[in-house]
């Protein structure tokens, strides 16, 4: 746990122990082809964080990474090293585009102990999970690509200068939001939480989307979310995956505060005088009628493998329903268009949002699932990226809070690594030091991790509990017992 209450820290101090969570030491991007000759090594470096590091130090670190990758390539030409474990830190390598390397160096968690009046640092070498942090690194690239396109495209457009410029602009801000101390299994999955919905309401949403797309022919793709959960994506799965990440961890949390604020709160954005609906833009102008308002929307890049599309991202929200409209970036978005969208979508979306809310409550009452399941579990399906966790309490922009001990989260990660190694369906049951039972199940493309707090139960009882859970929570899917 990273955000310990002050009292706990004091206590740690009392027993003369101090815990330091894992932290980002450095992050750099280089391409060996850009400075092949001696004396030109600096040209290889496209981005280096922290920037204040001395030049020779940078060159040395890049050179080391290059050497390690080169060296390990001799053992496996297609899959060179992905991480390097040292006592103090771990380095993660990723080559997202040919020749472009991204390296992230994470410091191992440290325990500071007092020995004979002197501070002694103990590095916890085995705490970090390779899979979790390589996933974080890969996600860095994907997030960059979503808003900037590929490295190669930048090179084509403006050479190294442009690429460096873009990397600088993006990563300086992005690296601050990494929160390495709270990364876990969910970062490996990078899944999508789907909003449960009955067929009829779902069809109504379909109908709404089709009508809007027909009316606003500029709209190329639409995505529909409710309560930060996905209902429909017109984008392909991989693009939606990263866009979903951006929406739920960055854009939506930034807008929560004004929403929670009362109607008269200064935090609440000015309502543009139209009280017939609750629709508003989360990207673009806050007030449509403000003559000073800038009608600029973030641009995103999708389908980078084939069509390479650049799109405006309009996110529009009414109550808990959010819709992303994606429009070809070559078309300028005029205030008229935004007003048309607002007047067309606003009222419909307001009605739809309250319909969904009503239907959701009815369904919840029928199925009686109002009470939280006693099980703590994480479910992930590789096929549709569906993710469900009762372990994670709430995602805030800063941290994801989990309700279980880090030790147990680590066991989950270990089980996941085991699952990755084989293709077969498996089941792993672990008894943790703290007397918790941890169960991992893999059936076809699905993974389920359950934490049971039944100290005195035996293996058979745990197995039965899992069967019960599967029968109640996953009865409508083919999940081998």
């Amino acid at each position: 746990m990273s955000l310990r209450p002050v009292s706990e820290l004091l206590m740690a101090f009392a027993v003369q122990e101090k815990h330091y969570p894992p932290s980002l030491l450095s992050f750099f991007i280089y391409n060996p082809k850009f400075g092949p000759r001696e004396g030109e090594e600096e040209k290889k470096i496209l981005f280096y964080h922290p920037s204040e590091i001395e030049k020779n130090e940078k060159i040395k670190n890049v050179g080391l990474c290059e050497a390690i990758v080169q060296f390990t390539r001799t053992f496996n030409p297609t899959k060179p090293a992905q991480s390097l474990h040292t006592q103090k830190n771990r380095q993660f390598f990723h080559e997202p585009e040919d020749g472009f390397w991204m390296v992230m160096v994470v410091q191992n968690p440290v325990v500071e102990k007092q020995k004979d009046g002197k501070a002694v640092f103990e590095y916890q070498e085995d705490e970090l999970l390779d899979k979790v942090y390589s996933s974080v690194l890969k996600q860095c690239y994907k997030m960059y690509k979503l808003f900037n396109g590929t490295f190669n495209k930048a090179m084509e457009a403006g050479g190294v200068t442009l690429l460096k410029d873009r990397l600088e602009k993006f990563f300086i801000r992005y690296l601050q939001t990494l929160h390495l101390q709270s990364c876990d299994l969910l970062d490996v999955f990078s899944g999508i939480s789907f909003f449960p919905l009955d067929k009829m309401t779902y069809l109504k949403i379909q109908s709404f989307i089709n009508r809007v797309e027909e009316n606003l022919s500029l709209v190329k793709y639409t995505a529909f979310l409710y309560n930060d959960q996905l209902i429909w994506s017109g984008l392909e799965q991989e693009d939606m995956r990263i866009l979903y990440k951006y929406l739920t961890t960055s854009l939506f949390p930034r807008h929560i505060e004004p929403e929670l604020a009362g109607r008269d709160s200064p935090l609440r954005p000015e309502m543009p005088g139209n009280l017939q609906h609750y629709g508003r833009f989360l990207t673009g102008p806050l007030n449509l009628h403000d003559p000073e308002a800038k009608f600029r929307f973030p641009k995103i890049f999708v389908n980078t493998d084939d069509n390479y599309e650049e799109l405006h991202l309009i996110v529009y929200k009414a109550m808990s329903a959010a819709v992303c409209f994606m429009i070809d970036a070559s078309v300028p978005l005029t205030p008229d268009f935004c007003r048309k969208l607002d007047s067309l979508v606003g009222p419909q979306l307001t009605v739809l949002a309250s319909d969904i809310c009503e239907q959701y409550n009815i369904n919840k009452r029928i199925s009686g699932s109002e009470k939280e399941p006693q099980f703590k579990f994480i479910y992930f399906n590789h096929m549709n990226l569906a993710e469900k966790s009762t372990i994670h309490l709430k995602k805030t922009p800063s941290v994801s809070l989990t309700s279980v001990q880090p030790e147990l989260m680590k066991i989950l990660g270990d089980i996941n690594s085991d699952f990755t190694r084989v293709d077969e369906d498996e089941e792993i049951i672990v008894k943790a030091m703290s007397d918790y039972w941890v169960v991992g199940k893999k059936s076809d493309q699905r993974e389920l991790y359950v934490i049971l707090n039944q100290k005195n139960s035996n293996l058979i009882e745990v197995n039965d509990e899992i069967k019960k859970l599967c029968a109640t929570q996953f009865s409508n899917i083919f999940f081998l017992d």
Binding site: K199, G234, L480
Partner: protein
Amino acid sequence: MDSGDFYLELSDRPVLFEKATNVNSVFFDEANKQVFAVRSGGATGVVVKGPEDRIPISFRMEDKGEVKCIKFSLGNKILAVQRTNKTVDFINLIQDYSQLEYSQECKTKNARILGFCWTSATEIVFITDQGIEFYQVLAEKRSLKLLKSQSINVNWYMYCPESCVILLSTANLCNVLQPFHFKSGTMAKMAKFEIELPASTAKVAKISERDIAMATIYGQLYVLFLRHHAKASSSPGAEVVLYHLPREGPCKKMHILKLNRTGKFALNVVDNLVVVHHQDTETSVIFDIRLRGEFDGTVTLHQPVLPARSIHPYQIPIAGTNVCHPATNTEGPSAVAGQIPIPCKLYSSSWIVFQPDIIISASEGYLWYLRIKLAPIVHLLTDKGRLMDFLLQRKDCKSVILSVCSQMLSEKDRAPLPVIATVFDKLNCEYKKYLEAEHSYTLAVESSQGRSNALVKRPVRGQAVIDQSDMYTHVLSVFTDLKEVPHKFIIAVLMEYIRSLNQSQIPVQHYLYELVIKTLVQHNLFYMLHQFLQYHVLSDSKPLACLLLSLESVYPPAHQLSLDMLKRLSTANDEIVEVLLSKHQVLAALRFIRSIGGHDGASARKFLDAAKQTSDDMLFYTVFRFFEQRNLRLRGNPNFTPGEHCEEHVTFFKNLFGEQSLLKSTAS
């Protein structure tokens, strides 16, 4: 006006008769729909033609004076002829019965017979100026028996044969109407009602029978009153007032049809539409009382459904073969030579209109049925929702509705999605009504189990019932095959139709899902398909699961989707095992069959075959041992029975692991 614009027409098979002259009197009987041509009082012949009669009935009768009224009883067995104000004469046309005329004088003294109506094969009503007399005709005795009579001052009367109701006009201004209903020997007085007259200071005109009509509209009897507003009046134009005449209870003013013009009008009712002909402009308008009108709290005001149009021009053929046609006789041989059809004068002052849908031109010797043409209306009524409301109430609407659907999806006349949705919703609403009626009929039949089945009537499937198969065959499958239609639109339309069916709670047929899947697969939209399945928009079924299985090679996740579906169906356990075995997931199959408790009856051979195919010896060992243990549990002996045909697997096992590895029977 282009020829596609006329929405009313005269039937192309008119009834032809000898036109009225001073020697030939023509009568029309509304009950039998027969035209009587009586020449010289019948002495030189009577020719009777009905709508279905290929050969006219002709006979002669003695000329006993001018015929005022002549009608057959229902079934053409007895002929009634009125020649005087006091009596009606009868002639039997039944074999073995005397054909000598017999007559009946009206009972009321000093009364004058206004006319008579047959209400059945043997029952007749005399209407006199002082009341009505209801008789039974005893043909074999050649006499009549009075069943009932009622005295009332009668100005004029009107008969509606479909509902067996006679309407009498009474009171000085003729504005009090008294209906009577007749049914197998009984006569029932219905609630009388008054037609309010304009409270103008000018001398109020009496209500003429020409301004009143009776007709059945949507199964209910209405009295239609044509109210001519004086030009000075503030209200623009004339209107038709519809009084609903229920079998029991008071009569109620329900609808007002606004004509927005004045002049001479005539009314018809065709396919539950009120047609109002206007002689001055030679056009007609139609009204549908089921379409939404303006409700003022008591009555609904209706505007014409469509702009006024003339009846489709009609050509009178001049054919020499037409013996009945008078033209050849009177106009001489020159007319025969010119075979050119002559355009018929429409809205002629010699036209007489009868209810519900008959127009007679006595001067030309034609009887037509008025018909409605639906195809031109499609272009005249641009509001598609209203058009559907209109078409769904019509008798021969199916092909027109389907063509409207095809048209609104076509590239040229494509309708916006909300309009398409409205049309689908209206169609499915009608479809659902029929399904429900069918369902309750089935329930009723089941519960009565043969007892008095006559009570429950099987619902009639009207043309307005456009089911999924109609939509699929005539509209959707054709439309999805068109190359030029963007797939986004195709999918939007299919989803809209599925949404509409779901909204009406109609189970969606598999072929519609297949169409959705086909379209998505054609355009590589697998992720879309995946999402639809995830939200169960495409309902689970075995055929759908199998279709998904077949997609696995192009879209691997289809395998998981298919297995999930089979699992939810809970009747497809065999299929699940087959799927797993085909993927060489022998252990998974075994675990699955064990979890559903099916391993006792499972075919060991099938699993052993699959295990052997994997060339995984340990897997084979495990499976083999599993079945040995099962055998032991079931029969106390691990050996396979000859019926299981596992001999080759036993040999294979022995070769691999040795004889001693076989499980020993506990008994031995």
